[in-house]
């Protein structure tokens, strides 16, 4: 049984939730997007049972069910309206995996505008919670379309704060800043270098190093030995196909 790219990406997203933020295991995982949601549910169903997950509409759900619809058999263990989510963000007990229209080598992320802010070429969502998330708790990113247009030398608008900006704020203001992982459709990336620059952590099976370098608009840090992103175990594959994503919605997100 071989895994699809969507399943490999979902497992990479799940692995981003290993080793919870700031030594606390009971944190809210906030995956934005289908594959991060599949990943967070897989993490909770396997190695991270203490994670809190919401249904996306104010309920904390104790059991793991399929993505794509609100499960009638869900077990609600808590209530998190947006106001309580913001309090939780600022208390730090959260790990968000957001999207990024652009990301740079320092982990600065943009979801606000393309082009000048005053009169953008393309107005996107707006910064949403990115500034507050990145300065308050662990943040990872999921980018389904890895290309020189998404992995850029310089983002047009810093929505989520990267390591260079955090460093400039000084140790006190940046003490909760923690950009953990970037998962794309080509590989997994981290910032575990002395300079806190984006480093290739692993290549997804079938993706060449050259392809990732060509698809990235800045110089990635490339380790001497490049690992391959792990494939799901047979147990994980069964969970993905039978419980968490029986409709293969993850694959649809990759096709965009």
């Amino acid at each position: 049984m071989s895994a699809s790219l969507a399943e490999i990406c979902a497992v990479a997203c799940a692995d981003a939730f290993r080793g919870a933020s700031r030594g606390e295991s009971e944190i809210l995982a906030s995956p934005i997007g289908t594959i991060p949601s599949i990943g967070a549910r897989l993490a909770k169903a396997t190695f991270a049972p203490d994670l809190l997950l919401t249904d996306g509409v104010a309920s904390v759900v104790a059991n793991v069910s399929a993505v794509g619809a609100i499960d009638a058999s869900r077990v609600v263990e808590g209530w998190l309206p947006y106001r309580a989510i913001f309090d939780l963000v600022w208390s730090g007990r959260r790990h968000v995996m957001m999207g990024a229209s652009q990301i740079d080598r320092h982990g600065n992320q943009n979801i606000a505008v393309i082009g000048p802010f005053e009169r953008p070429k393309a107005q996107l969502l707006g910064v949403r919670g990115a500034p507050g998330n990145t300065i308050n708790h662990r943040t990872s990113y999921w980018i389904p379309g890895h290309s020189p247009r998404t992995f850029v030398a310089r983002v047009d608008f810093v929505s989520g704060v990267g390591y260079d900006r955090a460093r400039a704020l000084g140790p006190r203001a940046s003490r909760f800043h923690d950009i953990h992982r970037v998962v794309s459709n080509k590989g997994v990336f981290d910032f575990e270098t002395p300079e806190r620059a984006m480093r290739l952590r692993s290549l997804h099976p079938g993706i060449s190093l050259d392809e990732v370098i060509q698809s990235t608009g800045f110089a990635l840090v490339i380790p001497e030995h490049v690992e391959e992103t792990r494939s799901p175990t047979s147990d994980e594959l069964r969970l993905l196909r039978e419980v968490i994503d029986p409709q293969s919605l993850g694959g649809k997100e990759l096709k965009g």
Binding site: V57, W79, A112, R119, V127, G132, V161, L169, A173
Partner: protein, 285 residues
């Protein structure tokens, strides 16, 4: 207790050109759409609109009512990007004050507490401060000396919100999963006008939901409008979900001026909310 019932037209009669108007709800959820449509019908102009934005912002932009927008995001939820908001930004038609979602909450909270600002870590290091020099920093007066963003109070001249139930005295009840920030929009404003799916006798609130669902008290409101289907086409759970087909029609019309004119003629150029309800009921969707 005074009777605060009014019509949509009477609410709009209380608003003035150039006002700062807060709009409750979140994205395409529980927006006071009958009041927004009444503003579209009026000659009001040059509004500063403060919102966790959805089609309220899109429609007001498309109608040229907005001078300045204060927002954390503008989205239709199931359709991530709001096309009319995008067009207004990309043509330079509106001045934009972009904020982190939590900063927007803090600005409303500061205004509601009559404080000049509230400190927050959110915004530090981001480009929000670069494009908005009006945002200042403040240093903690205590030993930590930490530098934080001083989020200024977002004082509103008026706000509009939509509830599931209200009484004539101006108490409001939400029956969905999330009160959003409506109570802050209400208190941050000099006057708040609340529409509701149904106006019921005060004694009946208890039979609709628990007392925790009474998130708006009558100190917060100046007027109450009964507006069944008043949040359409946004979601107003549990009374009704989002009208996704209608929302798709709304969003698609942005691609073509003729399509927008047809949409406007059919659903917006109407004399009253009752006419809108009839138009929606008769729609082929």
């Amino acid at each position: 207790m005074s009777d605060k019932r009014m019509t949509e037209a009477e609410v709009v009669g209380e608003l003035r050109d150039g006002m700062t108007l807060g709009i409750g709800g979140w994205g395409s959820r529980r927006k006071p759409m009958s009041l927004v449509r009444a503003i579209l019908r009026s000659p009001l102009k040059d509004l500063t609109v403060v919102s966790y934005g959805g089609p309220d912002v899109g429609l007001l932009c498309a109608a040229g009512k907005v001078k300045k927008l204060v927002y954390g995001f503008v989205s239709l939820d199931s359709i991530p990007l709001e096309p009319y908001f995008r067009a207004a930004r990309q043509s330079g038609a509106v001045e934009a004050v972009e904020l982190d979602e939590g900063m927007l909450q803090w600005g409303l909270y500061a205004a509601s507490l009559r404080l000049p600002f509230l400190p927050t870590r959110a915004g530090l290091g981001s480009d929000l401060l670069r494009v908005n020099p009006a945002l200042r920093l403040v240093r903690s007066p205590y030993d930590d000396g930490e530098e934080l963003v001083a989020m200024p109070a977002l004082e509103l001249d008026a706000s509009i919100i939509h509830m599931n139930r209200a009484d004539a005295a101006g108490n409001g009840q939400y029956l969905g999963d999330d009160p959003y920030f409506d109570a802050l929009f209400a208190v941050a404003a000099r006057r708040c006008f609340m529409s509701a799916e149904r106006i019921i006798p005060t004694a009946d609130f208890a039979s609709h939901g628990p007392k925790q669902s009474l998130c708006i008290n009558r100190t917060m409101t100046s007027g109450v409008v009964e507006a069944p289907l008043g949040a359409h086409f946004t979601a107003c759970e549990p009374d009704y979900g989002r009208d996704e087909a209608f929302q798709r029609e709304y969003a698609a019309a942005a691609a073509d001026p003729a399509a927008y004119r047809a949409f406007k003629a059919r659903y917006l150029d109407l004399a009253s909310h009752d006419d809108y309800r009839k138009a929606v009921a008769g729609g082929v969707r």
